[in-house]
Subunit: 202 residues, 2 copies
């Protein structure tokens, strides 16, 4: 016999989703500093103890809210990068979508909060690297490996460096606000990364 | 007649430097959250009012401490990038030095604190972009322009994108701790950025 009755399990699942959604919405409204377990509990319609049973801190809870967003996805997709056979075009679609997401006011505050926590908390950073960065990085590297097989990407490059060169500039410009972050910039990063900075051979 | 006597001006200058150095040292010891104007005043041997006369907040003070470090420099250098005529070698020297600085425990905490403030404070971010990022970015672009004149860099690339592709991956890997940050990585970023990701022409 299952330890938890089906109805109870479904209710738990529903409560968990409500809490994650409430945490994400609330941090966007009030900012991370003012985000409280009490506030999330009230917004999700659950008791504080329900939250403390599952998460030790608001940082851990917010991180799970992100994980739910990226691994489950709003549309239930697996998260694999598009592969039309045109590497540059596919990367531009992905980098433009990243820019659009970072520009979305619903995501801006929660993502800044998560990044701040990561910068200062090595334990959360390790958790982030393992549970969020690495799985997403593997999806990106899968697309680059397909490009290598198709002869569109050099065989001898380090794929981690390639991922960093494509996605790092976007994240940095967003975090530091050092310049305009738009589709034109996303396209330029892709073209420049693929082609390199050296003069073209005549 | 000058409004401030020479002796008084010299004392002010000395106090200012002591405060900036104390702020920098103290944030490395106690972290940004516990950094206080009281603590900085005590460490610098000045009164709190002296600090408040010059800086409205600890964020503004910490930012000036960084500016003093980068614009005056410990060795009084102008900060221009090396130019031996070998672009790849010169960029590797600079990126390796950046990695070493980020790895220095004296700098790690203060720089994380400054970056966190920038992420959440658009006013400080604008100040940072104008007074710290842009002057340093111009020095980097000067070196890239010299390489363009020497035929070592494509004429038609966007130099801001080039700077982002070279320095962005280093900063990101440091902030997010997503992988080892060492000289080998610095070298790989330079080589990959210059050469590009596409297959070499046979």
């Amino acid at each position: 016999m299952p330890k938890v009755a089906p109805d109870s399990s479904r209710r738990s699942q529903a409560a968990r989703r409500a809490i994650l959604a409430a945490a994400f919405d609330l941090v966007g409204e009030v900012g991370y500093a003012k985000l409280s377990i009490e506030g999330i509990a009230a917004a999700a319609g659950v008791g504080k103890q329900t939250i403390y049973r599952w998460w030790p801190s608001k940082g851990a809870l917010l991180f799970d809210a992100f994980l739910a967003l990226t691994t489950e996805g709003e549309d239930g997709q697996s998260g694999a990068l598009p592969d039309t056979g045109d590497l540059a075009a596919d990367l531009k679609v992905v980098l433009r979508a990243t820019v659009a997401e970072l520009d979305d006011p619903r995501y801006d505050q929660p993502m800044r909060a998560l990044h701040t926590e990561i910068v200062h908390d090595p334990v959360l950073a390790a958790d982030y690297a393992k549970r969020l960065d690495e799985p997403m990085r593997e999806l990106k590297k899968d697309r680059l490996r397909a490009a290598q097989r198709a002869g569109q990407l050099a065989e001898d490059i380090d794929l981690d460096v390639a991922v960093d060169m494509l996605f790092g500039p976007i994240l940095n410009r967003w975090l530091q606000r050092t310049g305009p972050l738009n589709s034109a910039y996303a396209d330029q990063v892709v073209d420049t990364a693929l082609r390199g900075l050296r003069p073209r051979e005549p």
